[in-house]
Amino acid sequence: MLSRTADSLYWLSRYVERAENLARILGVAERLSTLPSAYAGTSSEWESAILTAACGPAFFNNYSEATRANVIEFIVASDANSSSIRNCIQTARANARAVRTAITTEMWEIINGCWHEVQKFKLKNIDPSQLARFLSVIQEASLRFDGAAYRTMLRTDHFRFQRIGTFIERADNIARLMDVKYHVLLPAEEPVGGGLDYFQWSAILRAVGALTSYNWVYRDNVKPWLVADFMILRLEQPRSLISSYENLNRQLDSLAERYGRQGQAQRLARATFAHLENQSIDELFQFGLHEFLTEFIAENNALGAAVTEQYLL
């Protein structure tokens, strides 16, 4: 297939996934910020939302303070933010349009429909009920897009690049979300359950739509190290870092098989997966969660670069 086509498919999926994660981050920040401060702790939810969205410097170039209004404006629709949700959808659609023949009608209609829907929102000074509706439009489009890709695409290299984009972006986003909250996740001498940070921990689970499944896996209260274990090392959790890498390995191996050769991308993905597989949560905390996540984000970026170098140019 054309490298440009693969490139567009890859970025199309990355931007859809990014839009969904941003929507989830905002949803959770909105929820936490409405709690009385006695429950939510002292941290600024809006500042942590900006940090999670990995757009700190760009934000503080444009605003002096991370207030609710500023953060929402910046993440939802600011022109100064190339990764605002609106711009993600716009870029995803531009990529989809450029490879219209490489995706299925279902996928195109979801992206195109979502883009049209976004145009209808008055995003300037959006009120809370509109914001909630906007975020659910984005999350739903992403879910449907993912499902449509899974159910309607031919299992050729097109599909592989679509998946690779999704999982690299997802791994990056989850790692960032964890990293911003890492100070909360450290197993300090907190009273378990009902403590101040309970809402922060459950917020992470909520952000990835895993609050209920956590209960099923651990049958325990929300405990910080278990949350970290769940989101990093558990294969049962489809958004965990290890799950993303299990998928990346599968897709990259399939490409290698199809093309009859492998390269740096396959080697990097395998190494990261093995690293995650052989790690226990205790070792991970000994090494330092923040250090671990920083390293992971860098490795994940290196994989993205290798995929680009190997296939997309």
């Binding site: 297939m1 054309l2 490298s3 440009r4 086509t5 693969a6 716009q90 659609r93 531009a94 349009r97 450029a98 219209r100 023949t101 009608t105 195109w108 209609e109 195109n112 049209h116 290299d157 690049f161 490409l255 093309y259 296939y311 997309l312 140019l313």
Partner: protein
């Protein structure tokens, strides 16, 4: 084709008698409540909006692509009419190919004094590079769109030859899809020749002209200017139906006079390029150095015979309206046959006698620029103001070589479903003719364009034009069946 000639309606003739081919449809239109028709019409709009939205809407910066209006009443030709037309089209395209080959070769037609040499050499579409290049199989025009108008039962005229990169074929195919969804009952009653094998034929045609060095499965690609081109929808539609890659200039590169595309598995050789970009943009090294749409070195790969460009470079010479006026002679000269399709009578203003006549009759003639297309640079005498006529008079006197003139045609009409029911509207027809080294293929039908504004002769979509599905039918009701059905209906009715 006198000025006051009656207008021919393709369904009702000159006198209101329903013509063969249209009888079943006429019966059905009569029996179908107009609410139902209105209903189907809005369904059709929904169908096209969906595809339209799916494909045609541009990003914010580019504005929105309009959806061309679609009329639900089909335009019908009988198989007899079509057979005649198809033979004429085949003949015309064969002659055009022979002519272009001669223009870039020996130029016999000039040597024998039939066409003045300056008409060729001064033609802006003439590409000197092509005098050193012979395309595979000596076929220059692989896809031609021949615009046909009609003024009577047997009066078919060629209005224009499009031998560059004719567009619009996706509308022909989508219109048929829409009609089959909306009116399955009509498709049951009539035998309508299918058109959906067009893309299959197109691929076969393109493969047949692959260069000698190509493998047995030649790699054909469609070269597009990109998603912001207004015809991008058609480009992606055709690539999709043929199962070929749609590439942009940057996806291709030339090494050792061979064209490659960049793929995830490394470079892959390209054999045939169905290009939807103009000559001047193909290769910045050979033509417009500013072009970012093309592929540097493409022309040298072409000259080396390692790639086929479709249509060939420089085919625009035959689209010229001054050349058009010689088409009957061109057919006779190369094929030794009488032309089967008529030309609209044309005055070449470069000839003093013709110029004198044209200047005296400006108010009743259509004057066209020889290099113009798409209805630009045109004077329609009967609809023009005094100032416009005087403006053209001055233009004609200053540059007679730049213009031709034709009588105003009484274009045929076909009923259309408009706001207040059925009403006749003027139409033209663009059939698509494919020509490979293995012969000529024409799918029965083409794109019918219709001037939806009452009385308008302009079928151009930018000026209120729309499209219709075009049916070539076999097995219509006989006259007797039609009459007896009409009668029993009127006697038994309510």
């Amino acid at each position: 084709m006198a000025k006051a000639k009656a207008i021919f309606d393709e369904m009702n003739g000159f006198d209101g008698t329903v013509r063969e081919g249209y009888r079943t449809l006429a019966r059905w239109l009569k029996d179908t409540p107009s609410e139902l028709l209105a209903n189907r019409k809005s369904e059709a709009e929904y169908f096209f909006r969906r595809i339209g939205i799916t494909f045609n809407v541009y990003g914010d910066a580019e504005g929105t692509e309009r959806i061309i209006p679609f009329d639900i009443v089909p335009r019908i030709l009988t198989t007899t009419e079509w057979a005649k037309l198809a033979k004429g089209l085949e003949q015309r395209v064969n002659a055009i190919n022979a002519f272009i080959g001669d223009v870039y070769g020996e130029r016999r037609i000039v040597k024998e004094g039939l066409i003045p040499e300056e008409l060729i050499l001064q033609n802006p579409a003439f590409q000197p590079a092509m005098t050193r290049i012979r395309p595979a199989g000596d076929v220059y025009v692989h896809i031609a769109g021949i615009d046909i108008v009609r003024d009577g039962p047997d009066g078919f005229y060629v209005l224009e030859d499009n031998a560059r990169t004719p567009s619009g074929v996706s509308y022909m195919l989508e219109n048929r899809e829409a009609m089959m969804r909306l009116f399955p009952e009509l498709f049951n009653r009539l035998k309508i020749a299918p058109v959906d094998n067009y893309t299959d034929n197109l691929l076969r045609t393109l493969r047949s002209v692959a260069p000698k060095g190509a493998s047995s499965e030649p790699n054909v690609v469609l070269l597009t200017p990109g998603p912001f081109n207004s015809a991008y929808y058609e480009h992606s539609f055709l690539a999709d139906k043929m199962g070929i890659e749609i590439v942009e200039g940057t996806d291709l590169f030339v090494r050792g006079n061979v064209v490659f595309m960049r793929t995830t598995e490394g470079p892959k050789r390209v054999d045939v390029i169905y290009r939807r970009i103009d000559d001047e943009y193909l290769d910045p090294l050979a033509f417009n150095p500013q072009s970012v749409l093309g592929v540097p070195g493409l022309m040298s790969a072409y000259a080396a015979g390692n790639v086929t460009i479709s249509n060939a470079v420089g085919t625009g010479v035959s689209d010229d309206k001054a050349i058009y006026s010689y088409m009957p002679e061109i057919v006779k000269f190369y094929l030794g046959e009488e032309p089967l399709l008529l030309n609209v009578p044309t005055w070449r203003c470069r000839e003093p006698q013709a110029l004198r006549y044209v200047l005296d009759h400006l108010a009743e003639l259509v004057v066209k620029e020889v290099n113009g297309s798409g209805g630009y640079g045109m004077l329609v005498g009967p609809h023009a103001s005094k100032e416009q006529i005087e403006l053209f008079r001055a233009k004609l006197i200053a540059n007679p070589d730049g213009f031709i003139a034709q009588p105003t045609l009484a274009l045929s009409t076909v009923p259309c479903f408009v706001d207040n029911g059925l009403a006749p509207r003027h139409v033209d027809l663009r059939p698509y003719v494919l020509c490979g080294s293995d012969g000529v293929r024409v799918v029965p039908g083409g794109l019918t364009r219709v001037a939806l504004k009452n009385g308008s002769l302009v079928v151009n979509s930018s000026q209120g034009g729309g499209t219709k599905d075009t049916w070539v039918v076999e097995g219509d009701m006989t006259e007797a069946q039609f009459r007896s059905q009409s009668q029993s209906q009127s006697m038994g009715g309510s």
